[in-house]
Amino acid sequence: MDTEITLRVDGAAHPLTVDTRTTLLDALRERLRNTSPKKGCDHGQCGACTVLLDGRRVNSCLVLAVTVDDAEVTTSNGLAADGQPHRLHRSFVEHDAFQCGYCTPGQVCSAAGMLAEAQAGWPSHVTADLDAEDVDLTDAEIRERMSGNLCRCAAYANIVPAVAAVAAVEGVRR
């Protein structure tokens, strides 16, 4: 069943017709040919499709496009403001935090969303003191918070320092 929506992606508005069945991920990849977010499972199990939806990280493969026609979508490519790489982009390259690169835009978006969550003081499964005011993104915290993004190349041991470096700059890592 076709429906008219407007998707706002990386700062630009795109009016388009989608099937109600179309996911945000497929709308981006197949309709808008924005292939920065990747498909690795289509079922919320890998994180490759992670985008920021109104600033929050979500799995775009489980979001129906019709439900977000009023939201702002940011992909990893969209994090590069004015064509300048985002700090996370630079840190990922510098730390070689990927190999095949397929899970990577999802990792980057996830990291961006995760840093904002940490800034807001959200705890995680490994946070010992749930009542603590501030979050300190230790390696263990980063590992847990980034675990929704599978990397089959297993660049994990490099993703952690790549994110940690940015967390330190942003004041959420002591």
């Binding site: 919320g44 979500v58 807001a120 995680s124």
Partner: protein, 331 residues
């Protein structure tokens, strides 16, 4: 995926009316379970009524010091809520142990309660499953069932089903005696959460006692007033469903158990309130021995399958350890 209409109602009653008129319709929360199942052909609604912007996204205080959680509160926000973290750590921990950061951002309180089993035969429409296709048999019973139920299963007949309920949050809410507020075609009602999820009995197709068209609007959590915690054992360090989990709360006075709440996840078709263990514990000394005896009392009823017998000692250890940790916290 089957074609469907997508609607956003103006209010709760409108949403209920839309669904009441369509036996094949469904409410859409975050979609992290429903859309998944639609892609697999397991769920085939012809109408989706989006309720994410309809029910509350707020957590508000109840007069008794408890909390009312709007049905649309995302799992992530609920876990981060200061009041939840302080008063109901068991709930925050349960939420944080579930799924991933991304999923918790999208998943709603109402949807989380109603997520369906992860049984691999249920999610594969080419395989027998009494829950999905009543009468087709239970593929898991003699098949791959390492992570299936050990308690309260239906082990034979057309109702055979050995699935588990996958929610972590629900286990905590069951321990907390939450009440689920619903609005349906016949009006409003509050369902004690222990009466929401059901055992398979002779009809595993029904996960809950909700009637078609009933919308969850909120979940009320009454005040607890003593220490609680959630502990989940799983096959990888993160982003995995529970093998067994325990939601526990304990009040000890003069070394004696004054009050206790125990619920188990990963062991049954519904979050499992360990009433036998609770009864065995009240008034007993808060010792490792008593905790073990209580766990044994609960697990005496276990009927493990060919490949999941490990869940019995695992559940026992988790119960004992969780209670000992709570004794430690209280010190």
């Amino acid at each position: 995926m089957r074609e469907f209409r997508y609607e956003r109602a103006d209010d709760v009653d409108g949403a209920v009316a839309l669904l009441a008129a369509d036996p094949d319709g469904a409410f859409l929360g975050g979609g992290t379970n429903l859309v998944d199942l639609m892609k697999l052909g397991v769920a085939t609604p012809d109408l989706l009524v989006d309720v994410r912007q309809l029910t509350s996204v707020e957590v508000t205080g109840l007069p008794d010091g408890g909390l009312r959680i709007g049905a649309a509160v995302p799992n992530a926000d609920l876990a981060a809520d200061r009041r939840v973290r302080e008063r109901f750590p068991v709930l925050a921990q349960a939420l944080l142990s579930g799924a991933s950061g991304q999923l918790r951002n999208r998943a709603t309180t109402g949807g989380n309660l109603l997520q369906r089993t992860r049984c691999g035969y249920f999610t594969d429409v080419t395989k027998p499953c009494n829950k999905r296709a009543p009468g087709s048999g239970c593929g898991a019973l003699e098949g791959v069932h390492r992570n299936h139920a050990i308690l309260g299963q239906t082990l034979d007949g057309p109702g055979a089903c050995v699935a588990t309920h996958p929610s972590d949050m629900a286990v905590a809410l069951v321990a907390l005696d939450a009440v689920v507020q619903v609005v349906g075609p016949d009006g409003e009602r509050g369902i004690p959460i222990r009466e929401l999820h059901r055992l398979p009995d002779d009809d595993p197709s029904r996960d809950t006692t909700l009637r078609h068209g009933e919308l969850i609007t909120a979940v009320d959590v009454p005040v607890l007033g003593f220490a609680s915690r959630y502990r989940k054992a799983r096959e990888r360090a993160s982003f995995a469903f529970a093998l067994v989990s325990v939601a526990a709360a304990l009040r000890v006075e003069d070394g004696v158990v004054a009050d206790v709440r125990l619920a188990l996840g990963g062991v049954a078709h519904a979050p499992w309130r360990a009433t036998a263990a609770e009864a065995a514990l009240r008034g007993q000394p808060a010792t490792e021995e008593a905790f073990g005896a209580a766990a044994d009392a609960e697990l005496a009823a276990a009927t493990p399958l060919r490949d999941n017998g490990f869940k019995v000692p695992l559940a026992r250890n988790l119960v004992v350890r969780s209670l000992l940790d709570l004794v430690e916290v209280a010190r």
